[in-house]
Symmetry: C2
């Protein structure tokens, strides 16, 4: 660290006392020293406060997109203030956004569910920002749902979920999503093996019938959607595929996936067999999967079979065509992270005390010379461990994930030690460890997944918070800790509680790279981004039409009234409300809630929103605007009257 002539805060206070003058106190209040005393702040606290505080009216310099875990959403966090700017609903309906409450977003959720099921949650693990030429482009965000093996596409123009895809091929994923350097593909590897395509097979057929796979979802950037017809998968052994990463630059065209259950343990605790936690921890080595996805993409048409509409390259074909290789990796590996230059692949073995760094050049050379040390039981060629290595770093207990700062340093989370280890690529040695609180999982450095990390900050995504925050009941918040990595020493700046959701991974991008819409062009459908077919442009077009498929209400909303504000239907009618916000002022959002009918729409300026429901219950149902839009917001209301069948005067609620 530079030894500047600048002086420290407490020292400043002392100097001030020594040089006491009759200078008057500033109108905003107390001295630094006085505040430090009053609030028990140390010098380090003052330093951290001034590094994280974003004054009213100023904006954060980075946006972090964190997965919400089993809350099923994505959390957008401003850095360095660590303020939550938005929750984006993805797999779970969320009424403030109206997501999953109108016809179009309900359809996104339905089309993203397996046949015969209606899923209303997901387990979001790894968000991936879209990249152009190996750099974040600020256009899209992809996330996976571990529980149900799905992938969602979020546009960063409107921060809405536009698509959820469910392959029907695999039963649970984990290692995705990660994108290839130009977002050609979005990777989704399976985690818990199952018969491909979703069939039933007893557990004693595990080795024969159960399989893993990795799906490469083709992203159509022009449409902003995944194209299943151009996507493909590669069948893999049932080894519990875990985290994945895409090669880049030196390793462009390749992908890397860990595995942690080459033992193929399946538990059986009720019968006294070992649980998977011990059954899957027997081998000293599992297998790092090395996959040539560019070649696989070329063969996806000619060498695949189709399962559940997905082109799948069989395992045997992948072996024969040189798409798949294994390298031993110690022990119960978790994170696999490719360095920004693409030259090295860093693997963390949960039960190992090393970080293991593979050299892609060596791997490629071993593949080219077919220098295999054998095959696994499914015939996959195995490369020699030591010859593939760049080296190993003595890292500590429970290494999980690694991030890169772009300045020659890597940072690995140590779950068991509850620390982050900073280590150097120069001498392959740990240079510093910093405690985190507690039980860290992933780390996030802006741009670490790209060819050019931004460095500066590291966020430690800690799983337990214990005593860090006021106890708010048995379900505690997570703790996201902001660490300054710009200086010689790491400095803990901020503890951020996360009181909804359990982030697994996050990606961080300079705020300036995001350019979201301020509002919609009048009549826009939020899912299609196009003019809604039921949009109207003025109150004159508002109307109620009876048609064979039900009653259609073409409605407008503008401060602070609806047209129409009285709707009369008959019990049993199918009611279609098509409401267009005529606002074109940023933040002039309205809502539409109907008493008792579970109807709630969020009407951002310009949006057209559609909702369909059956007026099954007769009665008098007020509707109103749920967003405080003007001084006369409470008066933005109307009535839905449902006439009872047979004209009975009193309907039941």
């Amino acid at each position: 660290m530079k030894k500047l002539i600048a002086i420290s805060i407490a020292t400043a206070a002392l100097v001030v006392v020594a040089c006491r003058t009759n200078l008057r106190q500033h109108s905003t209040g107390e001295s630094v020293k006085g505040l430090m005393q009053a609030r028990g702040l140390t010098e380090a606290d003052v330093n951290a406060a001034l590094k994280t505080y974003v004054p009213p009216g100023k904006q954060d310099s980075f946006l972090m997109f964190a997965s919400g875990g089993h809350s099923g959403d994505v959390i957008v966090i401003g850095v360095p203030s660590m303020r939550i700017l938005k929750y984006i609903a993805v797999f779970t309906p969320e009424p403030w956004q109206g997501y999953g409450y109108d016809d179009d977003t309900k359809k996104v959720l339905e089309e993203g569910s397996p046949k015969g099921a209606t899923l209303t949650w997901g387990d979001v693990h790894h968000p991936a920002l879209s990249q152009t030429n190996g750099e974040y482009d600020g256009q899209y965000l992809f996330v996976n749902d571990k529980a149900n093996a799905r992938v969602a596409v979020i546009s960063l123009k409107d921060f809405n979920t536009h698509q959820i895809v469910h392959s029907g091929l695999i039963a649970a994923d984990h290692g995705g999503t990660f994108v290839t350097p130009d977002t050609e593909y979005v990777m989704e590897p399976a985690q818990y093996a199952a018969p491909l395509g979703g069939g039933y097979s007893p557990l004693n057929t595990y080795q024969q019938k159960y399989r893993g796979a990795v799906i490469f979802w083709k992203f159509d950037r022009a449409k902003g959607l995944i194209d299943k017809s151009k996507s493909f998968a590669i069948e893999l052994p049932p080894y519990g595929q875990d985290l994945s990463n895409s090669g880049k630059l030196a390793s462009d065209g390749y992908a890397f996936i860990n595995s942690f259950n080459t033992e193929m343990a399946t538990g059986g605790t009720l019968e006294g067999k070992p649980a998977m936690e011990s059954g899957a921890s027997q081998n000293d080595m599992d297998y790092l999967h090395v996959i040539n996805w560019k070649k696989a993409a070329e063969l996806a048409n000619s060498k695949s079979t189709v399962i559940q509409g997905m082109r799948v390259i069989p395992q045997q074909t992948a072996i024969e065509e040189g798409l798949l290789y294994f390298i031993p990796e110690p022990k119960s590996p978790h994170g696999v992270d490719v360095t920004p230059d693409g030259k090295y692949i860093c693997v963390s073995g949960k039960l190992d005390t090393h970080e293991t760094i593979y050299s892609f050049a060596k791997i490629k050379s071993l593949i080219d010379s077919k220098a295999f040390v054998g095959k696994d039981r499914y015939g996959v060629p195995i490369l020699p461990f030591k010859e593939s290595l760049h080296g190993q770093v003595e890292i500590g207990l429970g290494p999980l994930h690694t991030q890169f700062d772009g300045h020659g340093f890597a940072y690995t989370s140590l779950f068991i030690e509850s620390k982050v280890a900073k280590w150097s690529f120069n001498d392959m040695k740990v240079v510093e460890k910093i405690p985190v609180h507690y039980n860290v999982g992933h780390l996030c450095i802006p741009g670490s997944d790209t060819e050019h990390p931004y460095g500066k900050y590291l966020v430690s995504l800690d799983k337990w918070s214990l005593d860090r925050f006021k106890n708010v009941g048995p379900l505690l918040p997570q703790n996201e800790q902001l660490i300054d990595i710009a200086g010689e020493k790491m400095q803990l700046l901020y503890d951020m509680p996360l009181g909804l959701g359990e982030p697994h991974y996050a990606e961080m991008i300079p705020a300036e790279k995001i350019n979201a819409l301020p509002f919609y062009k009048t009549g826009t459908n939020q899912v299609s981004n196009e003019r809604d077919r039921f949009a109207i442009g003025s109150e004159k077009e508002a109307r109620i039409e009876r048609r064979p498929d039900g009653v259609h209400i073409y409605m407008t909303a503008i401060r602070s009234h609806y047209v129409p504000d009285q709707i009369v239907v008959k019990q049993g009618d199918v009611v279609h409300i098509h409401v267009t916000s005529l606002e074109q002022t940023q933040d002039a959002t309205h809502g539409l809630a109907i008493d008792g009918y579970n109807v709630n729409l969020s009407l951002e300026p310009g949006k057209t929103n559609n909702v369909t429901f059956v007026a099954a219950r007769a009665g008098t149902f007020p509707f109103y605007c749920t967003e405080f839009c003007s001084a006369l917001h409470l008066e933005m209301a109307g009535y839905l009257l449902v006439e009872p069948k047979g004209g009975v005067a009193r309907g039941g609620m």
Copy 2:
């Protein structure tokens, strides 16, 4: 303000430069001046940063409970750091908490829905902390759902929703919840009038058939639940009842409710009639409702009729028994706030430029002497306006809500001006206004609703945030602004974005008053707080039982395995999983997610959780722990196998 000898920050820097020494920089980093320059911070910013920053490992001194609006939840915010500690799911299912995904919390939501409907959201407006003798006791929190006229009870022992009540009497509420000084009752006034009991009646019968009402829900503190059988309501004219407040001390036994639509406007925009926003804004005066709830409670048995199971005192009876009086109030009133001593009632007229302060002593005297100036069209006695007044304050444009600091000052939000006005009870004059950003609704000062406010902080709950934060799409966060009110001048300290939910009101309590459970006693049901009837105490008790009502799985969860971890059922089976967490370590939370079956449980330490589903689809479905609980968390998994009907080898997903 005291002119202390303490010096300001920038001045300190100058002095430091003047007295430059060779003191070394502190190891944590840069000087205050250097950081100010580097980050563009003003002196006021530094002051605010040091007043709000809560260092890692330290805790906030206050907890604010904010309503989530149409997100349907409650947000717990630490003050002064303005960090979100928790979202409490109330009316909307939320999978991170497992709320609405297990049998017991599903039942809470179902029992809180109208018959024949399944509601999966609510519009939370006004949280009310339970009080003992006019002080927050930190035990319970009540909230309303405006959209569907419901009230929920949250325990602050576990921060869970334990009950939702739906009267079936009214169609929408707004003015609740507020509690009486010993939490005898929780108030829920109607907002948009409708036929009492939920019947159908055409809008041209509005004046004859539509009614307002106020429900006094009886709270059984020993059970921690509302007791509908001991609750009662009072029928009110269809005047659009708005905010309410309970009397205290001088006015104990009384309640006050605003109204804003004495015009009884019902819109008709499609036919060219005026919208309610203008129709309801014609009268210069609406009516402040003065209600003698203690007397009403005494008459609730003898003088009521029962509608939808609720004892309702008819309007005419309320008039005859002296339970209900009106006082004119200007104009389109919104907030009604009783001062901590109970002597004054402060009313904000949205379209008035005054804050109108009524004297309870004068009101009581006028009632006692029957000094009425007339009756409204329904026969309710009207007290004279001027004679009821303590006075009026020239306040500004769009006054909405008032809070009290306990030191003789009141603070009123001005929606149209986007300011907070501080005014004095001494001279009934505004002493200061501070701009807020933007469109403020409610304000929150800790303890303002009690007999002894804590003062110190004020939070301005602003509806628009516009340019205050990086744009994250057309749906913007709200802005909660923290203002220091401890000094002579108000000081804006912090802009807090709220990226999920739209807070309406909030209450704030010293953190030390909350004493939540660290974890559950083994086998606790989170809704009943008692031992779950399906709880087991050890892995030895784990078992699978076939019974006439389905397959019962008695399961345990502890780091990092389930017993059993293999479950085989037949297609069509009703599956009941009863899982007990054997953990007794704080924060050792597990989850249970089943692929494709929309099952997701949150298993805090000691909890027993039950879920029932039909195994409708054959196949191989992994289940696993959704909370990162140990280094071998990924291995905490098992399989649900659903054998196809007829033994077909391949079931569909």
